[in-house]
């Protein structure tokens, strides 16, 4: 199998956009190249749950027509018009199925578009299809999809990360230059780290959540997946901004992320190494080596590296695994077989609403989803609320304070995105707790609502390592600036990771 079926798929989204504008390539050509690539590698990777070639090509043709027409119509086109995109199947789309990788929503077609999808359609990015994920975004490996696993393009015996493994794998394997993900505890950043791509979790409220199927409302955030920081920034600028349909959406103007990503100047910037997330149990040596080499590059470029202390982070995982399932247990209550999606009738006995609901949920939800619903229901129940949910919210406040203090000492914070490189498929399926540990470095940002970006920063044993930059809430621009700088420094040394993706082996 060859990655160079058509070399244009190896360009960055920004380069594709520029070639579309200059007329060197057409969107139809570009979209078709990606569809060809999808046809070629999907049997191995299974990054997509649904591909909609017709719709994508139609939009591409529209862009080409507008561009050919010239004048106002061509000028009105968005910078990224004609650049294809893939969408995590947790984000609702009209005309393409949305399943959240659950049996519960098998065959369900949303009658409305998510706000980010409206923006994508408005900007005329051909939507290639819907990407795989852990069911209802619950998992860190994309092994919990009801429709089969996704493989890591770097090593197809390994997981691509989760829950947005489909989007990350699609971008890493040149099936799509851009993708949308959602990040509740690291579901954009962790798969980005595991696939050698860039993933951003924006400031909470920076991108509308309207139309993202909720797992944990106070933590969920839609964000961009791309191969470069610049590409992620461009997509972030497109999907960001205030949405009156989302009460938690911020009123802010969208920042100039792409400009920040291309500045590359870190001289005099203070970069804070989070003591709790830069070493210790569970951290692989290869990851730590890549991390210290990144720090070295940044220091060489004139950045000041300081160490910051975030003592409450020791409790972040515990707090997260109470708040997330509590909210999830509530958000998932609507899947009852009454109005849409799967309905399963009890095999015997009377046909009452309670029994239909129970049979539907028993058959429709996977194991991890059930585990979290039970956990969350328990944590919220009378008599346990204060001990669990209440305490977790207090820890959340402490974590926010830790960040506040840390950002007094540093412009941005840095740590490895995940303590390890991607593990083997099936390796942690029977050990949910060890799987949860994987999110230790990404979770604090969700609890505090701050932005985080994972950039590829070297390899460990031939597998990508991600480095995460964190910035204060509403200062996504700082994270783009630092992430762009690191990417640039590594690129100068010939260590740009995403271009080094190995050939995909056949998988039986």
């Amino acid at each position: 199998m060859t990655v160079d079926s058509n070399p244009i798929i190896r360009l960055t989204a920004a380069e594709m956009a520029s070639k579309l504008q200059s007329g060197e390539i057409t969107s139809v050509e570009l979209t078709r190249a990606h569809l060809d690539r999808i046809a070629e590698v999907e049997p191995t990777l299974h990054a997509f749950l649904h591909v909609n070639a017709d719709e994508a090509l139609e939009v591409a043709a529209e862009v080409d027509r507008a561009r050919a027409a010239g004048g106002q119509e061509a000028e009105k086109l968005h910078l990224l018009a004609g650049v294809p995109i893939a969408v995590k199947d947790l984000i609702v789309t009209k005309g393409q199925p949305t399943t959240a990788a659950s049996k519960m929503l098998e065959g369900w077609m949303s009658p409305y578009d998510a706000t980010v999808i409206e923006k994508i359609r408005e900007a005329k990015l051909p939507i290639l299809g819907k990407t795989n994920l852990d069911e209802f975004a619950m998992g860190s490996s994309t092994e919990h999809s009801a429709y089969g696993i996704t493989r890591n393009p770097w090593d197809t015996s390994r997981i691509p990360g989760g829950s947005g493994g489909g989007s990350a794998a699609a971008v890493a394997a040149f099936e799509a230059p851009l993708a949308l993900g959602t990040d509740t505890g690291g579901s954009i950043r962790e798969p980005a780290a595991f696939t050698g791509t860039v993933g951003t979790k924006p400031t909470y409220g920076g991108v509308s959540r309207y139309g993202a199927i909720a797992m944990a409302s106070s933590l969920d955030q839609i964000g961009p997946c791309a191969r470069t920081v610049q590409d992620a920034a461009l997509l972030h600028e497109l999907i960001g901004g205030h949405d009156p349909k989302d009460s938690t959406s911020l009123p802010d103007e969208v920042g100039e992320f792409a400009k920040a990503a291309s500045t590359h100047d870190v001289a005099g910037k203070r970069i804070g190494v989070i003591r709790q997330l830069s070493h210790g149990e569970g951290y692989e040596q290869g990851v730590l080596d890549a991390f210290s080499s990144s720090l070295g590059s940044l220091r060489e470029a004139g950045a000041e590296i300081v160490e910051v202390d975030c003592p409450s982070f020791d409790y972040a995982l515990g707090a997260y695994y109470l708040i997330m399932p509590s909210e999830a247990s509530s958000n998932l209550a609507r899947y009852d077989g009454v109005r849409y999606g799967t309905r399963v009738l009890p095999e015997e006995g009377p046909l009452t609403i309670e029994r239909v609901m129970a049979a539907t949920r028993a058959a429709g939800f996977g194991e991890e989803v059930k585990r979290r619903i039970v956990l969350g229901t328990y944590a919220l129940s009378a008599g346990y609320y204060d001990a669990y949910y209440g305490s977790a919210q207090k820890i959340r406040t402490l974590i926010q304070r830790d960040f506040d203090r840390a950002f007094e000492q540093a412009d941005v914070l840095i740590c490895p995105t995940a303590p390890t490189v991607p593990f083997k498929l099936g390796e942690k399926m029977d050990d949910p707790l060890s799987m949860y540990l994987n999110d230790i470095a990404t979770i604090p940002a969700n609890l505090a609502g701050i932005p985080g970006i994972s950039v590829p920063a070297g390899l460990s044993g031939g597998l990508p390592v991600g480095i995460q930059f964190l910035a204060p809430a509403r200062e996504d621009i700082r994270a783009y600036h630092a992430a762009g700088a690191l990417e640039h420094l590594l690129g100068e040394k010939g260590e740009a990771i995403w271009q080094q993706i190995p050939e995909l082996e056949e998988v039986k």
Partner: protein, 501 residues
Amino acid sequence: MNDVAPLGFDEALEKYEPVLGFEVHVELNTKSKMFSSAPNAFGDEANTNVNEVDLGLPGTLPVVNGKAVESAIRLGLALNCSIAEYCRFARKQYFYPDLPKNWQTSQYDEPIAFDGWLDVELDDGEIFRVEIERAHMEEDAGKLTHAGASGRIQGADYSLVDYNRTGVPLIEIVTKPITGAAGRAPEIARAYVAAVRDLVKALDISDAKMEHGNVRCDANVSLMPRGAETFGTRSETKNVNSMRAVEHAVNYEIRRHAAVLEAGGSIVQETRHWQETSRTTSSGRPKSDADDYRYFPEPDLVPMVTTPEWIDQLKGTLPEPPAERRRRLRTAWDYADKEFRDVVAADLLDEIEETVAQGASPAVARKWWMGEISRLANARGAEPVELGVQPATIVELNQLIEDGRINDKIARQVLEHHLDGQGSPAEIVSDRGLEVVSDDGALTAAVEKAMEENPDVVEKVQGGKLKAIGALIGPVMKETKGQADAGRVREIVLEKLGIED
């Protein structure tokens, strides 16, 4: 034990002290729903006033209706409540097919209004103060129609769901336990619900039609032996939807509780359903204080903050309290007690007040609204206000009568033509030539004709039976197509016969 026949009311009261509590749900008349932009309208085709938010579809998010918050604050102020500076919505989780998200967005430990009171006027004018615990905002659920013999969910073959009502903004007003009501408990129950209804109507925050479910009352009743201090176990009669029914339900529950307690039984804490036909309640589902709704703060909504300036501004929009207004109008209009009560019962205070304000006398205003307009409304199966008669039209109509241009009977016809869209009263009178015939020549001719054709009547009148003139007026009216002035006809007859009146 719970099936014993209810005790007599007086007997029950001799031994037990009733404690009441009410939860009144008020549906707000906002244009859109509590958390979505779908229309808030009653009576449309099922499942048409809904969007993806109301249906709780995956990915949807709520947005708070600012107008509903304003209504809640105004109601809170009118109920003499404190208004929270900061409050939140919470999710109240339970499974029911008319609740699309399987949780209700409501307020739990942070209601927008709390600690108030409402003075309730009883039939004899006595004022009873009901303490208000809280008034909080929430959303309504959909409506289920159970297909099957009983019409109840138990044993239904299937149920139809109409989500039009889903997400309609509600305010739930919860009283503190009401003690000291004694034998007046049923009357207090009715008067309290009436007072709340009048209040929300005066505030113009609800259509306040109990028959449409705009105002629904859950009535809690418990009994404690006379002299005791601990409340008894309560029952909660759900969704009682008329003032009369609330009164009856409280009466029945007092008698039922007393009978159970007298027989040595104990009251089961449960919800009960009001049966209008038998005027009894029947057992619903058991309800304990430990019902676990797993409340937690709604993460999809940001907390609400009320500023003192905003509250002051809303205070300025409060209407005259309904009880005070009624007292003022009763004095000003000088109606008999029954007349006034009937006007209140017919919901026509606003219309009569406006008609008087535009120049009619209170008596004339009452005559038209309580008489012809109510009659026409009744015939057309509508409420008087729904006919759309403007107070100015009544004033104009009355002026035509006072000017002698039409008589009462014609005026009634004119009103009917007006309702059929034929123009203003004056236009109708002139277009249709309905003016009273005041031309003596034409009248005299008609009178002479009538006298010629009815010699026996003429004889009677001449014989001193002046009342018999009526028998001549009829034919004259017929001759003039009803447009004769009856008074003038009488005068002409007397003139002709040379009789002094």
